[in-house]
């Protein structure tokens, strides 16, 4: 059983997944943030691998990616930073990013190295299900990594079931069709999440996009196993000196 699956065995509600961009705000802040998140009550971490053209992300996360790239972040640097990950971090860690940098690194080499340093799963928004099934899925499985697909309110029932079947770890429910960091009307979202709950999916569901404070976190958790916070945390980290303290305060305001 993977670290992510174990987490959901133990904790079935109010699971908090926090997103941060590797190499942001400082090149070497990645591991500091992971530790601070672990100490402050996060259940799961989604670590963004910066890319020059992140289509599914909003301006705040894109700006953090641009900064991380300027700081000198790339996959080799990231894996070097994560080489002692499992000495201190017991939280499940997921890498989120786009296909192009991974293809240049070598897809199999990437999966192999990720698994070796103790990464648990992948979210690759521009890896579509056709290519996953025909080419990449087998490699991801070979190295024991979970793979998490996204579903949106526009995803058909049939397709939700298919993506659930292909996913392991959890399913990422985008709260409405939008890039990250957009404000959402949560009433409309609730109907969507209630509907997802009735589908008897094999994976737990985490809700992402538009979660920014205690209120939105609580309401997302009403109809899902937990939620993902990204943009709000990236904003909170902007320009701060004490990353640990900022992280701690940020999570206190959510949980």
């Amino acid at each position: 059983m993977s670290r992510i699956q174990e987490l959901f065995q133990k904790k079935k509600s109010k699971v908090l997944n926090v997103y941060c961009t590797a190499g942001y705000p400082e090149l070497n802040s990645t591991v500091t943030i992971l530790k601070a998140l672990q100490e402050s009550g996060a259940d799961l971490v989604e670590l963004g691998m910066p890319y020059s053209d992140p289509l599914a992300d909003g301006p705040v996360i894109q700006a953090s990616s641009t900064r991380a790239l300027e700081n000198g972040m790339n996959l080799s640097v990231l894996f070097e930073q994560l080489k002692d990950l499992r000495k201190e971090i017991h939280l499940p860690v997921i890498l989120m990013g786009y296909m192009n940098p991974i293809l240049q690194y070598g897809f199999e080499e990437f999966c192999k190295t990720a698994a070796a340093v103790g990464v648990d799963g992948l979210i690759l928004p521009d890896l579509p299900e056709y290519e996953f099934e025909t080419e990449y899925g087998a490699i991801i499985k070979k190295y024991g990594l979970d793979f998490i697909f996204l579903v949106t309110p526009e995803t058909s029932d049939e397709r939700v079931h298919k993506l659930d079947e292909l996913s392991s770890g959890f399913l990422y429910a985008v709260s409405s069709s939008a890039t990250t960091g957009k404000d959402k009307d949560f009433n409309a979202v609730e109907g969507y999440l209630q509907n997802l709950q009735t589908k008897k999916l094999k994976n737990p569901i985490l809700v992402g996009f538009g979660i920014k404070d205690k209120e939105t976190f609580q309401s997302a958790c009403k109809y899902a196993n937990g939620a993902i916070i990204g943009t709000a945390f990236i904003k909170a980290l902007d320009g701060v000196e004490d990353i640990q303290l900022t992280t701690k305060k940020f999570l206190q305001n959510i949980i």
């Binding site: 890319y51 289509l55 790339n74 192009n100 521009d126 579903v151 985008v174 939008a178």
Partner: protein, 402 residues
């Protein structure tokens, strides 16, 4: 236009998943899946419906001004010792080939029940062509344009505004065409129900490259019968076109792609020189990668970050190339050459003085390679004169020291 889905190997059509050889596909986030899937399922049926074709052909004739002439350029022919024909896309309404595609896509958007149109633009030609058809059909139009391009293409920005479009500057990344495309895609993600995205080139996720190539294929369809009238044969020896994303080249090549006797010459922008670090010659500098939803050749760093290209012409200033062209390059079916900023400028002045036609800077790149083709007197060369040069007057004036 005849609907064809050939089963044998062809350079014209991608396979069902949108692949031309190993390039293409639809690498899109789930948020775009429904829109792209809907297009994929319906585009061919809609495009070849008799009612659609009737309206499309009528607009191409009476609004765009098609067929565009195929002009035997006598002085150029003499200079290069071959028959040089110019396919006059510069005479299309709005001054470039771009409108062939926007007319097609606006009609398609209406059939899909969409009410809001978004587009990206580099030089502004596609933005103008989109704003034009939106005005014609009374649809809301939003054009994303890199902040830097807004500065260097002021006349086209003014045109778009006069036509009623809203021009939104792309402020992220390098603030040019690549980023305008990112912003347009983001807009589409955020407005999935009422919006159609009119991509201006043969790039993007399947079915866009195929759909845009089909709408632009009217260029080579006309060229064939025009050549037959003028020379007795439908086939030239060469077709020459400039390539950024590659839409005019796709249209000019389309009905010759599987005619292997015809040499297809694609001319990329070499900027200050292919290896100068200031270039947009994607096939020479790019590696296979994924950009804007398809796998193609992409100019990128070793780490897979997309790099900012350079060309004097905003329309060729793109770090990728359509998957159809990537396949022509890889298979050897296409001949890929390049022209520098300086060569393009010289060529623009030369064509103006020799034939009385001021070409767009993009188009000037195509003319710049004529001397490199080792032409014979019996050769029949078609150059796609993709656009007129009015929009580039500021650059030409600087070059003349005015």
């Amino acid at each position: 236009m005849i609907r064809e889905m050939k089963k044998e190997i062809t350079f014209q059509h991608p396979n069902e998943q949108g692949y031309y050889g190993s390039f293409g596909g639809a690498y899109i986030p789930e948020m775009l899946h429904r829109n792209v899937e809907e297009l994929k399922e319906k585009y061919l049926d809609i495009m070849y419906e008799p009612s659609f074709q009737k309206e499309f052909q009528l607009l191409l004739k009476d609004y765009v001004g098609r067929p565009t002439p195929l002009f035997l350029a006598e002085r150029l022919s003499k200079e290069f010792n071959a028959s040089i024909y110019l396919k006059r896309e510069d005479l299309c309404h709005t001054g470039a080939h771009k409108i062939n595609n926007t007319i097609g896509q606006i009609l398609l958007a209406r059939k899909l029940g969409k009410t809001r149109i978004i587009a990206e633009t580099g030089a502004g030609q596609h933005g103008v062509a989109t704003a034009t058809v939106c005005a014609l059909k009374g649809m809301e139009c939003i054009v994303y344009m890199g902040e830097k391009d807004i500065e260097r293409q002021a006349p086209n920005v003014a045109r778009m505004k006069m036509l009623g479009a809203k021009v939104i500057p792309a402020m992220s990344g390098s603030k040019t065409l690549k980023d305008a495309t990112n912003e347009a895609i983001r807009d589409w993600i955020n407005n999935p129900v009422d919006t159609h995205y009119i991509i201006g080139s043969v790039v993007g996720p399947h079915p866009y490259p195929d759909m845009v190539a089909r709408f632009q294929s009217v260029i080579s369809e006309e060229t064939r019968w025009q050549l037959k009238e003028k020379t007795g044969s439908e086939l030239p020896t060469h077709v020459v076109a400039c390539v950024g994303g590659g839409s005019n080249a796709a249209g000019a090549f389309y009905h010759f792609l599987d005619e292997l006797s015809v040499q297809l010459v694609a001319v990329e922008a070499a900027g200050h020189g292919v290896y100068s670090g200031m270039s947009a010659a994607t096939t020479q500098l790019g590696k296979p990668g994924i950009l804007h939803g398809s796998k193609s050749l992409v100019m990128q760093t070793e780490d897979g970050q997309v790099v900012e290209p350079h060309s004097i012409s905003a329309g060729l200033d793109y770090p990728g190339v359509g998957p159809l062209h990537a396949n022509l390059f890889k298979s050897g079916r296409g001949t890929f050459l390049s022209a520098t900023d300086e060569e393009a400028l010289q060529s623009a002045f030369h064509i103006s003085k020799t034939e009385g036609i001021i070409p767009a800077l993009e188009t000037a790149h195509a003319f710049a390679v004529l001397g490199k083709l080792n032409l014979k007197t019996t050769d029949k060369v078609v150059v796609c004169l993709s656009g007129r040069g009015d929009k580039d007057l500021a650059t030409y004036m600087t070059a003349m020291g005015i």
